[in-house]
């Protein structure tokens, strides 16, 4: 979708056009869902929180102002706030045992291929979830969405250099965590 077209759709959506908001929803739902899924670690909360991100966005779309950041940055901010509340409402991060976890499908693989996490992958995901939210966001944008440092910078409101530096520090922190756990 070209940028100018999205601006028009955004304008219509902010004037209460539900169909226009529906188009935005379809464009961003997978990205928000992936972000929430990797931040919460389970499908049930990922669905609940992703839906709430869009309901909240719909409730406040009339207040949305274009500050030069992509619309996704606004949605990510809403998602970030809801996830922060979700974590606050729980004394510890909710982790569903693998046997109870609902089946998830990777996009690049046929539906019959389900997630079979090894213990190693599971512990890596746990370490990722204990990183500061900004670092988790960076890793999700980089590995799940395959965004360049420049695009990540635009979404996160940082310079490309700052993203590179944050990424390097995140890798070092993760490596240290993994090494100390061995």
């Amino acid at each position: 979708m070209p940028e100018s077209e999205e601006k028009n759709i955004l304008l219509n959506a902010s004037q209460g056009d539900l169909e226009a908001f529906g188009i935005l929803y379809e464009k961003y739902v997978e990205r928000i869902y992936n972000y929430v899924y990797y931040r919460t670690g389970n499908v049930h909360d990922a669905e609940d929180l992703s839906a709430r991100v869009f309901y909240r966005a719909l409730n406040h779309i009339h207040t949305y102002t274009d500050r030069g950041l992509p619309f996704s940055a606004w949605l990510y901010r809403i998602a970030h706030n809801l996830i922060a509340n979700w974590h606050r409402d729980r004394s510890r991060h909710q982790e569903i045992p693998l046997s109870d976890a609902p089946i998830i499908h990777f996009k690049s693989e046929p539906p019959e291929v389900t997630l079979m996490q090894t213990q190693e992958q599971d512990s890596l995901l746990r370490y990722i979830r204990h990183l500061p939210s900004e670092r988790q966001h960076l890793l999700i944008l980089k590995f799940v969405e395959h965004m360049s440092n420049a695009d990540i910078g635009v979404t996160m409101g940082r310079s490309e250099g700052a993203v590179k530096s944050l990424y390097h520090r995140t890798l070092l922190a993760l490596r240290n965590e993994l090494e100390s756990s061995d």
Partner: protein
């Protein structure tokens, strides 16, 4: 110098291997189609219930505001009564 280079190479190698692990763990996930369609339908039909639920979900803030208002009202009533009784005492004196 060679030792430093070897250490740096080893460190870089570890980071590269970590990046590989990350790309194996952090992969795009497809949300359930029923979920995506369900929310899309509720958005397009403007289902007020979900929007209302989202507003009510902010109940922490609402509860805090209510508690603040009630405290303020009680405080004002106590101060008002004290002032009135002081005035009455002055009058009678």
């Amino acid at each position: 110098m060679t030792n430093i280079k070897q250490l740096a190479d080893a460190s870089m190698g570890k980071l590269t291997s970590l990046e590989k692990q990350l790309s194996g763990v952090l992969r795009p996930i497809e949300p359930r189609k029923e979920f995506v369609r369900g929310v899309a339908h509720r958005i397009r039909t403007g289902s007020q219930v979900d929007l209302l639920v989202d507003r009510i979900a902010n109940w922490h803030l609402i509860a805090l505001l209510m508690a603040g208002l009630i405290t303020l009202a009680v405080f004002l009533a106590v101060v008002g009564r004290t002032l009135l009784s002081l005035l009455e005492k002055k009058r009678t004196a």
